[in-house]
């Protein structure tokens, strides 16, 4: 599991790469939170290269979004492939974390 982060204007952009399973979450969760929560910036998370998502990954996304929300920031996901989308839809995650198809759409949602 790999992760990159950058700023696009005032928005934090985080790119996740690999499997958000038990092992992957264990490897990336601390860095993921540290890249997003402390500065409280609105954040978009690129899931394009996430090949697998299970409940541990959902838990990480909820926990980080909640911590960011307490600092006044918003988090938007984008780019989920079919398998990842299946899990997101099954858990109704989009009821609490917005999901966009593209980076441009995500930037619009996080700014809105």
């Amino acid at each position: 599991m790999e992760m990159q982060h950058d700023n696009v204007g005032d928005v934090r952009k985080v790119v996740l790469m690999g499997r958000l399973d038990t092992k992957g979450v264990d490897l990336v969760e601390t860095r993921f939170g540290a890249a997003i929560v402390p500065n409280g910036k609105n954040t978009i998370v690129d899931l394009t290269q996430v090949t697998f998502l299970a409940s541990m990954g959902i838990r990480m996304l909820i926990a980080t979004t909640r911590a960011l929300s307490r600092k006044g920031g918003k988090l938007v996901l984008y780019g989920a492939g079919p398998g990842v989308m299946d899990v997101i839809e099954t858990t109704a995650l989009t009821d609490i974390i917005p999901l966009a198809a593209t980076e441009i759409e995500a930037m619009g949602l996080v700014a809105g």
Partner: protein, 163 residues
């Protein structure tokens, strides 16, 4: 401590067209078992979204058993059988851990806000929603445990995934 000394996978074999895995009581069993499952030709032939569901179900059940069903550092084990059936892939999970019936778990509360969203408990929900059929059986060991006893399962979960 045999279960701790051999990584996650104790054994793997294809018997009468079924893949049979024996997993140790360690989190490494998730990754080691999954890798072996993906090498099984009927699994390789699945379309990607179906294979993803199979992997999710495998991960959630094995992780749940190791975290909640087993005694830490014990040599308890999970025996998994994977077989292609007409229109479905069937997985049978047997373990010698504490009783756990996923069918008795209440569905999680719907999300209403990020502040109140439950962080845990989604794995069993995923298991139930992604499977076409889910059955549980509590098994009664036929002999008292002993050091050299054969595996005597106490839980059996049968999961089918539509293909």
């Amino acid at each position: 401590m045999q279960g701790r000394e051999h990584g996650g996978l104790r054994s793997a074999a294809i018997v009468n067209g079924k893949l049979e895995l024996v997993l140790n009581n360690t989190i490494a069993a998730i990754e080691d078992g999954r890798s072996r499952m993906l090498d099984f030709p009927p699994v390789q032939a699945l379309e990607a979204p179906v294979r993803h569901r199979l992997e999710v179900i495998f991960e959630e059940l094995v992780a749940n058993t190791i975290r909640h069903g087993f005694t830490e550092h014990s040599c308890q084990s999970i025996h998994v059988s994977i077989e292609q059936r007409p229109g479905a892939m069937e997985l049978i999970f047997e373990d010698d851990g504490r009783a756990f019936n996923p069918l008795e778990m209440p569905p999680p509360e719907p999300f209403s806000s990020i502040e109140t969203a439950r962080i845990g408990g989604l794995g069993i929900h995923l298991l139930a929603r992604l499977s076409a059929d889910l059955r549980y059986e509590r098994l009664t060991p036929t002999a008292p445990p002993s050091e050299d006893r054969a595996f005597m399962p106490t839980n059996r979960i049968v999961v089918s995934i539509a293909v």
